[in-house]
């Protein structure tokens, strides 16, 4: 795994990496990927990857209101980095004209 690939992964994963981290990760990720590649040999004789479901699936519950209005609102708002009134404040993501 080379530096370019790791930089690309970091962008996908939304993590800014420093120079030292890049150097270490290049080495570490390469050895881990080499180690886990053994799975391709184990499973090579069976290409029929059937759909995977757990022991129970399609578990539904009634669509009903379980909370009281505003039961958690204050606590959740208190955890937000930035608020305006009862709203979460975020950066502008669209620039429209000037």
């Amino acid at each position: 795994m080379n530096r370019e690939e790791i930089t690309h992964l970091a962008t996908l994963a939304r993590i800014r990496l420093g120079e030292e981290e890049l150097v270490n990760l290049e080495k570490e990720l390469s050895s881990i990927v080499e180690y886990v590649s053994v799975v391709s040999e184990i499973a090579a004789d069976d290409a029929s990857a059937a759909p995977k479901v757990g022991a129970r699936f399609n578990i539904f519950r009634k669509d009903e209101v379980t909370n009281q209005g505003d039961q958690y609102t204050k606590d959740i708002l208190a955890e937000m980095p930035k608020t305006e009134g009862r709203y979460l404040a975020v950066k502008k993501i669209l620039e429209i004209g000037d």
Binding site: R14, S31, A55, R56, D75
Partner: protein, 473 residues
């Protein structure tokens, strides 16, 4: 408090010989005395005293007609939500995060009368096997403070091992309850996947995670598990009693030992303790045979694809926008990238990137698809094996507790989990309890044995564990 069991505490509370207030005061005193060095706890809850007072009163009024954990001090790993308490997952990104609701298991433990005296240290987001990956400093092993307590539930293990609490709750994604139990000389239990609700647990690997107890006896582990287990409307993966075929209890069992798997990388002294355990089982009338588990042996490789894939998805939510650490930047992308860069530690970043890689276009089939296939075949292999044997037996970890700072290479750290991770991939239950000690540098270090049961076989493990461990310890 001396090392004690819930059963002993409960009997003393009912008899009026000891009170919840005395138990909680004793727990807080042990923490005050020892935790400066051990660092098992991230937070200690002084309000436990009020709950203890109420419990005192309830015992006076109702005696034995009280909930089964009334007045018992316990500790929670800090990735389990308890309303109003700081829940950090030992990460800088959640350093100041306060839980806004109770996890289902917390609600059940509180309803059963347990008193939570504190939150325990862990590897950041439960990623690690030594508790050295905590953003708030490592925990030390009370048995030998030069050594790690194991991880990721290392704080929970140390809290019980240093005698602060008789019960601590951990989570286990690849061995994070069983391996610290082995290193600290405790009982640790990883239930059948789905036996315990994950609602209110900070997700690491959603198809792998289960919560379970660390205790001083198998009977206590069973008692606490029985309180936490059961179907939950808030977690659609929770199972019922009839999800899997009934697993009968027997007087004598057939144990299977994957002998080939033990040939490489296991300490000679751990092996001789393991062989002595096998002899003791035979002497007690059980049958022990050798088995082959070729796919189980490759579990670690499949695990380090499946788990990081789930990690990279689950940890995408920590973005600096809605809660947790938020670092200012010029634009939105900058806030994401800087918050995650400053908030996450080394191991967490490593796993997120690895997961991003195995899920990325062009690699998905080669890695994630294959790993899930291995997992499926491994389940098949285990199902066939459990037609021949009742319980699979391995050491819990290949070595006793290692020294702080000893394992710098991530792969060397991962290899401590070779016997535990396949259990999570297959979803089966496993119990670890001490099988003896090995001498290293003048210290007697505990080592654990792992009993693996078939899906839904949790009760079988408790039943045999109580007979083998509780009656002989």
């Amino acid at each position: 408090m001396k090392k004690t069991t819930v059963a002993e505490l409960r009997a003393a509370f009912i008899a009026g010989e000891y009170t919840p207030t005395e138990a909680v005061e004793a727990a807080l005193a042990v923490i005050k005395e020892k935790d400066g060095e051990i660092h098992a706890f991230l937070d200690v809850y002084e309000d436990a005293r009020e709950a203890a007072k109420a419990a005192d009163q309830l015992y006076k009024e109702k005696g034995k007609d009280t909930p089964p954990l009334l007045g018992v001090p316990i500790a929670l790993k800090n990735n389990i939500l308890m309303k109003g308490k700081r829940t950090t997952a030992a990460s800088k990104i959640l350093e100041n995060y306060t839980a806004v609701y109770d996890a289902t298991i917390v609600k059940r433990l509180l309803d059963a009368g347990a008193i939570v005296v504190g939150a325990t240290n862990m590897d950041e987001f439960a990623m690690g096997g030594s508790t050295e990956n905590s953003a708030f400093g490592p925990t030390k092993n009370p048995v030998d403070t030069a050594r790690v307590p194991g991880g990721s539930s290392g704080g929970s293990a140390a809290a019980v091992a240093m005698g602060a609490v008789p019960v601590a709750i951990g989570t286990d994604t690849g061995g994070s309850i069983r391996q610290p139990a082995s290193y600290c000389g405790l009982v640790g239990f990883k239930p059948t996947y789905g036996a315990v609700s994950r609602y209110g647990l900070m997700a690491m690997g959603s198809s792998l995670d289960q919560a379970g107890p660390l205790t001083n006896s198998v009977a206590d582990a069973e008692l606490v598990h029985d309180i936490m287990t059961g179907i939950d409307g808030m977690d659609a993966t929770t199972i019922t009693d009839d999800t899997y075929p009934a697993v009968p209890l027997k007087d004598t069992y057939t144990f299977g030992v994957p002998r080939h798997f033990l040939a490489d990388g296991v300490d000679a002294e751990v092996l001789s303790a393991f062989d002595a355990h096998i002899e003791a089982l035979r002497a007690a009338g059980h049958t022990v045979i050798d088995i082959d588990l070729p796919l189980f042996e490759q579990g670690l490789a499949a695990y380090y694809i499946v788990m990081p894939a789930e990690v990279s998805s689950n940890l995408a939510r920590y973005d600096g926008i809605r809660y947790g650490l938020s670092v200012e930047a010029d634009d939105l992308l900058g806030v994401y990238e800087k918050s995650r860069a400053e908030g996450f530690g080394k191991e967490v970043k490593r796993r997120i990137l690895l997961g991003t890689y195995v899920l990325s276009s062009g690699y998905y089939d080669a890695y994630y698809g294959k790993a899930e296939l291995v997992r499926k075949k491994m389940r098949q292999e285990l199902a066939e094996t459990f037609e021949k044997v009742d319980i699979i037996l391995t050491p819990t970890a290949p070595t006793p507790a290692f020294k702080l700072g000893e394992k710098e290479d991530p792969l060397a750290m991962y290899r401590q989990d070779i016997f535990t991770v396949p259990v999570n991939l297959a979803g089966v239950p496993a119990l670890s309890f001490p099988m003896g000690t090995v001498a290293q540098e003048g210290k007697q270090l505990p080592v654990g044995v792992q009993y693996i049961g078939p899906l839904g076989g949790d009760k079988r493990l408790f039943s045999i564990g109580k007979r083998v461990y509780d009656t002989n310890k």
